[in-house]
């Protein structure tokens, strides 16, 4: 495995993708993608709508099986090999675009679902005290402890997103996958939550791969940026090198379904 360079430093890749192709409904979504995500860093995945950013995330977390190519996890092996996916998932936390929360449960119960893999599905026991404490601390981390007992569907979009982030943090993950984790929070809060994430990544040496819609945030938050265009990697380099020219190249290319994307989506 080759080392990645960001600035002058060399990093060990936590995840390596080689020749990844995904078809959906007979249409190629991702076309022989190769890249790597460095340990202890934040990588932003950017690109126009429909380019396959979410699909890439779902390949990484094992929800979508690729037609070709390989995803290798450092120290474990390829995702297709037996046992690797399970171990990879155990140390991974995922933040979803649409929150993926259960509306009628209190916020803290949704956070506890981040620990569902530690419980037997048929256990009738209530959540152990230690787990509830971890969930409460995770909610405190995102500044939502005061709403812990509120029904999740009574929370605002931004608050729900923070519950989704707390559900990821409660797992104490090694790898954080985020599909537009800050899509429904205002820019100020996005900066704050991003800064919080950055702090955890640095402190615990985590790896984060985030699909980001807001390019400004991607530039500030990420160490590296991977730009997808037309199902291929069009930019792969340090965030500082992602200039206006690189941005224009990614967002003006034809989308895979043939419709032209007229304006860059960089709110």
């Amino acid at each position: 495995m080759n080392a990645l360079t960001i600035g002058s430093q060399a990093w060990r890749p936590a995840l390596t993708i080689v020749g990844l192709s995904v078809m959906r409904g007979g249409r190629p979504i991702l076309n022989e993608i190769s890249t790597a995500f460095a340990e202890g860093t934040i990588t932003a995945v950017v690109g126009p709508s429909g380019v396959g950013k979410t699909t890439l995330m779902n390949v990484l977390n094992g929800l979508v099986a690729p037609q070709a190519g390989r995803v290798a996890v450092a120290g474990l092996g390829g995702l297709g090999e037996p046992g690797v996916l399970r171990e990879m998932r155990r140390r991974t936390a995922m933040v979803f675009q649409d929150h993926a929360l259960i509306g009628r449960l209190p916020a803290i119960d949704n956070v506890l679902l981040g620990l569902a893999d530690t419980r037997h599905p048929l256990s009738l026991l209530p959540w152990p005290r230690a787990a509830r404490e971890r969930a409460a601390l995770a909610l405190a981390d995102v500044g939502l402890l005061s709403r812990a007992t509120a029904r999740t569907d009574t929370l605002s979009g931004g608050e729900r997103q923070r519950v989704g982030i707390a559900r990821a943090l409660v797992r104490a993950p090694r790898l954080i996958l985020g599909d537009e984790p800050f899509a429904s929070v205002d820019p100020v809060l996005a900066r704050r939550l991003g800064g919080e994430l950055r702090r955890l990544v640095v402190r615990d040496g985590l790896t984060a791969v985030l699909v980001l819609h807001q390019l400004q945030l991607a530039r500030v938050l990420a160490d590296r940026i991977v730009g997808l265009s037309g199902g291929r990697v069009a930019f792969d380099g340090p965030a500082g090198a992602f200039d206006a020219e690189a941005e224009a190249a990614i967002f003006s290319a034809p989308a895979p379904n043939g419709d032209r994307v007229l304006s860059p989506d960089n709110s």
Partner: protein
């Protein structure tokens, strides 16, 4: 550009006209089927209605005023009917839940399990509760027990299908989140699907309980005990006044259960707003 655009618009309009024609044709066929069903069943045979009103009137007069003099003997059959409905509903719902999970197409993807389970639920549902009553009376003898078994069997068939459909309409996001974290299929059922569908399951089960209370009464007619047996016996002895009193008691019980059921359902569904 504009030529191809107007061509595309024309194609979409043509598609709309085709849809309208199809809807009209479908409606006409539906009306024809329904009308012929009425005719075939003799619903338009007006001569048959001539005697109906006087007969019903005579029966009503014979049943007035209701005779409550044997009320002290009704306590036991009343409790029998009530407990039959509760036990039959709960037993049916408990068996229905795992079967529904197996029958839900989004939970078990292989048709080799789903199809047989759906067929099995279909069979349970297709055989009327009264027939199940006859079968279980023959199998375990008279009394409330065959009533419970008959109610539970038919309830499993109906609730199983309904639970499965509810599970199929569940939001997949929370389950995907769990799967991405390595939670097993059973764990997804327990931690994502069940919490989401629970209010619907309770709602339908309570509704089914109300239905089962009335069904428990008719089951009395085939020997499953309870209030139904009392009513049928009164009819057979031409004690129409006692029968009408019993029917009033049944009506009061059903109304009471409806109120209780509505309260339970409001508690579970009421705070969904937001």
């Amino acid at each position: 550009m504009s030529a191809s655009l107007s061509l595309n618009v024309a194609a979409i309009l043509e598609d709309g006209r085709r849809r309208t024609r199809r809807t009209l044709l479908g409606t006409a066929m539906g009306v024809a089927v329904i009308l012929s069903a009425f005719i075939y069943a003799g619903a338009f045979d007006l001569g048959r209605y001539v005697d109906a009103v006087p007969t019903i009137w005579r029966l009503a007069c014979d049943a007035m005023p209701p005779d409550f003099s044997r009320w002290h003997a009704w306590g036991r059959p009343l409790l029998e009917t009530l407990s039959m409905s509760v036990a039959g509903t709960v037993a049916g719902a408990l068996v229905a839940l795992p079967l529904a999970a197996l029958a839900a197409r989004n939970f078990v993807h292989t048709p080799f399990i789903g199809e047989p389970v759906r067929l099995f639920l279909n069979v349970l549902r297709s055989i009327p509760g009264l027939i199940w009553g006859v079968i279980f009376v023959a199998a375990v003898g008279f009394g409330p027990l065959p009533g419970i078994l008959a109610l539970a069997t038919h309830t499993t068939g109906m609730l199983g299908k309904f639970f499965a459909e509810t599970i199929e309409h569940v939001e997949t996001g929370p389950g995907d989140a769990l799967r991405a974290h390595g939670v097993s299929r059973l764990g997804v059922l327990r931690f994502s699907i069940l919490p989401q569908v629970l209010p619907r399951l309770v709602d339908v089960s309570v509704y089914r309980w109300e239905h089962n209370l009335r069904a428990a009464t008719t089951l009395g007619a085939v020997g499953a005990g309870g209030l139904g047996l009392e009513i049928v016996t009164a009819f057979h002895l031409f004690e129409y006044r006692e029968a009408s009193a019993l029917i009033l008691v049944l009506l009061a019980l059903v109304t009471l259960i409806n109120v209780v059921g509505a309260t339970v359902r409001r508690r579970f569904l009421g705070s969904v707003a937001g």
